[in-house]
């Protein structure tokens, strides 16, 4: 406030605001995928990638055709010829599991893509608009959220005689978009009030640019997390429905293998090589997807990441992050001031205090 406003040159008052830092498409892409650059996400992606590879290369990897019957080797535990043993018909379990990966991956990703597209469209629009349009989209989302999905899928699936994978994926996708839409709506609503969006609107940017260029990059992490979550849900849904038998068992996926195993009483007869691998595979892919989501979570909410790490780093230095009392740790010898009455002692006896357990 040291200059007089009157004396400022008029031009300064109309100076353009500082330009936004230009970002190349490549750097924007890079920052969009920053959420994947931590240990957890990478581990998850690697495991997931492994399964995708298996699905793609099933024809090459599998030692047998899944339907190939060897009537001399029924219900065999794992051996050199059949690494995961055989089924009650003499089919190779390993081949079945390998081929089963295809159905799981295809349906999982297909369903998730459909669900995520719907969730983004509904969620972002509902979050950006105001008034009754937003409210009614929100009500629609909530209805889909409350109406129980699995019973609905069971009933709908039972109406088809031999649904192709795409139809199954579509049904799973159509019942699974609601959660993501709700989260995206909330986030879009809060983004809408942020400065850069207001600036874009004031600049007269068209709607599709505002949503596409300004908002979507900020929503990427949430969209990714929602996608990953939906893949998990779709895979679990598919395998569950297959196990129940609602989805006809002419396609191979890990759930149908379990269906046959269960029907043949494998669980009661301790034929573990038949029912353990498919279940473990489902769990493994579930873990991989969870890890990816953990990684995204920590990227979005740095507190989650840093809280544990910081606490552990502190522990290494002998500090307890949860201690409500500041630790006292006198360093080395310090110059003793002699002119004051010595209330303090120079002894290093003051120890770090630990919080009550």
């Amino acid at each position: 406030m040291t200059t007089d406003l009157r004396t400022q040159p008029a031009a300064d008052l109309h100076a353009a605001p500082a330009p936004r830092p230009t970002t190349t498409a490549r750097s924007r892409l890079g920052s969009a995928f920053a959420m994947f650059r931590n240990r957890k996400s990478i581990t998850g992606l690697v495991i997931l990638g492994f399964f995708v590879l298996v699905a793609l290369l099933a024809d090459v990897i599998a030692p047998f055709s899944p339907t190939q019957v060897d009537s001399t080797a029924r219900l065999q535990p794992p051996s050199g010829a059949h690494w995961l043993g055989t089924t009650h018909l003499g089919e190779d379990v390993l081949s079945q599991v390998i081929y089963g990966t295809r159905g799981v991956i295809v349906v999982g990703f297909l369903a998730a893509i459909m669900a995520t597209v719907i969730a983004v469209v509904v969620g972002v629009i509902a979050g950006y608009l105001r008034g009754w349009r937003s409210e009614s989209l929100s009500a629609l989302t909530n209805v889909f959220l409350v109406i129980p999905g699995l019973p609905l899928i069971i009933i709908v699936a039972s109406m088809f005689n031999n649904p192709p994978l795409v139809v199954i994926a579509a049904v799973l996708g159509l019942t699974g978009w609601a959660w993501g839409a709700r989260v995206l709506r909330a986030q879009t609503m809060s983004l809408r009030n942020r400065d850069f969006v207001q600036a874009a609107r004031a600049n007269g940017e068209p709607l599709h640019r505002i949503i596409g260029n300004e908002m979507l990059p900020n929503l990427m992490a949430l969209i990714a997390a929602s996608f990953v979550g939906t893949v998990t849900a779709a895979i679990l849904g598919l395998t569950t429905l297959s196990y129940i038998g609602v989805i006809p068992v002419n396609t191979y996926n890990w759930g149908t293998i379990l269906n046959w195993a269960g029907a043949q009483g494998a669980f009661r007869q301790n034929q573990w090589w038949w029912f353990l691998p498919p279940g473990l595979c489902i769990a493994a892919i579930g873990v991989a997807l969870s890890l990816i989501n953990f990684g995204i979570d920590e990227y979005v909410n740095p507190r989650l990441r840093s809280a544990g790490e910081r606490a552990r780093a502190m522990r290494k230095r002998g500090l307890d992050v949860n201690d409500p009392v500041t630790a006292v740790r006198p360093t080395a010898v310090r110059p003793v001031t002699t002119d004051r009455e010595s209330i303090t002692t120079t002894s290093p006896a003051a120890s770090t205090t630990e919080g009550p357990r």
Binding site: M314, R317, P324, V325, T326, A327, V328, I343, T344, T353
Partner: protein, 274 residues
């Protein structure tokens, strides 16, 4: 009773991160009983760290790396604050030294009525009180700060900012502490409310006789209300003197800079030139 309430000697606080940050560097000061000491300085100068540090309220990675803090209780006993263990510290808190925090917006538990949050203090520190006694004590506190006893059942979100701050003051007053540390208590409020709060604090001080450490970046405010002012810069106290002398005869260059950066309301245009 000693004239000194709190003796801080060669006190240092470091944040044990990479690289370590020395937030408070070998501070020595003696707080006199019954005075208002202002702690002024720009953001990051360490005034908050100092005030929190002497109460050991800082969380890791803050570490007290040197010095001593001795509290001279009215009973004649000397308490070496830096030597207390966690349980002793917990009992010391609020009973001898209490705090009024900045921005009571979020300083009160949103899901508990304010009466319960005031009673909390009595339940923990004065377990021998009966429920009726506690209720009465809480009601009395609310009356003292002019919030009104009927507000004991209200929730924080139902009160305005000024009222919430007064509830915070009531809470700090509950155990009749000997020292109250106030961390920017009026910064988030508008000027009228600010004045009311300050008047309240002043009146309470006259009535209950506690010592006040008042932290703020608002130097003119301190000049008006404090007995002594400590100017801090980069973790050190650069000047400590009475308010009068700081205004009329500042010694340190930094103090002079601070004083000269406030615009004047009256007189010629331009800033105050010292």
């Amino acid at each position: 009773m000693r004239d000194a309430l709190l003796s801080v000697h060669d006190f240092s606080v470091t944040y044990d991160v990479d690289p370590p940050v020395e937030a408070v560097k070998h501070v020595t000061l003696e707080l006199r009983r019954g005075e208002i000491l202002g702690l002024a300085g720009e953001s990051g100068c360490g005034k908050t760290t100092l005030a929190y540090g002497v109460q050991r309220l800082l969380k890791a990675p803050a570490v007290i790396t040197s010095g001593s803090v001795v509290f001279h209780d009215a009973s004649g006993e000397d308490v070496e604050v830096d030597r207390l263990d966690a349980e002793q510290m917990r009992r010391f808190r609020w009973d001898k030294v209490s705090m009024v925090f900045q921005g009571a917006m979020n300083a009160l538990n949103p899901v508990a009525p304010i009466g319960a949050q005031l009673e909390d203090v009595f339940v923990v520190h004065r377990p021998q009180m009966s429920r009726a006694e506690r209720r009465e004590a809480v009601a009395e506190l609310l009356e003292i700060v002019k919030v009104g006893r009927q507000r004991a059942r209200s929730f924080p979100h139902e009160l305005s900012g000024g009222m919430r701050q007064r509830v915070m003051i009531a809470m700090a007053l509950a155990l009749r502490p000997q020292l109250m540390v106030m961390d920017e208590p009026t910064t988030a409020l508008d000027v009228l409310v600010q004045r009311e709060i300050l008047r309240q604090i002043s009146q309470l001080r006259h009535e209950f006789g506690f010592t006040v450490v008042f932290i703020t970046h608002d130097l003119p405010l301190l000049l008006e209300i404090s007995d002594r002012i400590a100017i801090m810069r980069e973790g050190e106290i650069v000047e400590l003197d009475t308010a009068e002398r700081i205004w009329t005869n500042p010694q340190d260059d930094y103090t002079k800079t601070l004083l000269s950066s406030f615009p004047r309301l009256t007189g010629e245009r331009g800033v105050v030139v010292r």
